[in-house]
Symmetry: C2
Subunit: 227 residues, 2 copies
């Protein structure tokens, strides 16, 4: 049985897959810390499915970019399980995960996540998730230099880009809200679509969050030091 | 806060939406009866979100076609909540719900659910879920009389249709597994897309499952009586 975990945004989700079939998934966006909800949610998932941790044989996780605290909690949890049970972890990024529901549109996909501090995390993909623009953190206005024609815009930060494009009089297609929600079970589908690094044993130490920039606390500290 | 419920297939799912934002969703396909899992799953959803039944103000449910027992349990549950709290219930069918993730494809959508007894429930929709063929139960081979060109095929019964089409040498496009999973939160999106009847108070008695045919038990009984 495979376990997938995403805590890269304010929402979190977990999913269990057995023999190619989705057994269970849960998504929660409840403004409480992942540290309080994640382990009880995992316990509950296994219990509902009549499973135990020993039934797990593969792990998948979303490494960000996104919430710094969420990512640390998610990665610490999945690494703990991987070390404890001797399992491998395959990692995908949150912009790929957000883009997945739009792959069926047949269009290029601009995947955007709110990075706070007037910035966004963004990546531009082909319909099969081939990379046009790799994940980066940037000011929303800088998206204007990307070739967005025939692209569909999705992700929790799509509304930020919409404001920028509309202010410039640029029309674009936006995914409805239903398609903008990242779900951990999408990691199983990404594994079918895309190769990605796997970590196991000692190499688990190389499995680190994809932050793309320093944390808000670090940036503020540096700003303070330089003034 | 809105509650959506789908128990129309062997899987079940529940979702909570507040102020347009998905708070929680859970999907489970665990081959135990909905009667054992549904109320604990609902209790757990409210508890995780720090909510109580009194926070609910609108209900949505999937009325089938699908599992006869699942539908009866789901409708009895949602009607109980509606009567108890004086709320309205809006109903959508399971073929609309299964078609929803494919609306972003821009193609016509053939939505198919396994009806057992060598039959399928099927409907053919425009990309905006306008009806080309309304839901019906039919032998898979009879799908050949429908105009499937430029359609994408989805739903838990897509594999049954695939066998029929491939046996005839007909190529078609099939939604990947990720897009074939019905999720209760899709009912919130259907409510944005499509008008549908709402039931409240005395009219709740008119909210009945969309069976499309008699139950397997009834059909077998009739076959026995006529022989």
């Amino acid at each position: 049985m495979k376990l997938a975990l995403d805590t890269s945004q304010s929402s979190g989700s977990i999913a269990l897959l057995e023999a190619g079939k989705l057994l269970y998934s849960a998504y929660f966006d409840i403004r409480v810390t992942h540290s309080e909800t994640l382990m009880p949610a995992l316990d509950n998932a296994l219990k509902i499915c009549g499973k135990s941790p020993g039934d797990l044989d593969e792990l998948l996780v979303c490494i960000g970019p996104g919430s710094f605290t969420g990512l640390r909690i998610g990665l610490a949890t999945i690494k703990g399980i991987a070390y404890g049970l001797g399992l491998s972890v395959t990692a995908y990024n949150s912009l790929q995960l957000s883009a997945l529901p739009c792959t069926i549109s047949g269009k290029n996909i601009l995947s955007v996540i709110d990075a706070r501090m007037h910035e966004v995390y963004a990546a531009l993909y082909l319909p099969d998730l081939g990379i046009i623009q790799a994940p980066k953190v940037l000011s929303p206005i800088n998206i204007l230099s990307w070739d967005l024609k025939a692209a569909i815009i999705t992700g929790s930060g799509a509304g930020i880009i919409r404001k920028v494009l509309e202010a410039e009089g640029i029309k674009a297609e936006y995914a409805p809200a239903y398609f903008c929600i990242p779900r951990a079970e999408g990691l199983f589908s990404l594994a079918d679509l895309l190769p990605s690094p796997s970590y196991e044993g000692e190499s688990l130490s190389e499995l680190v969050p994809l932050y793309l920039r320093e944390s808000t606390a670090q940036v503020k500290r540096q700003q303070k030091l330089s003034t």
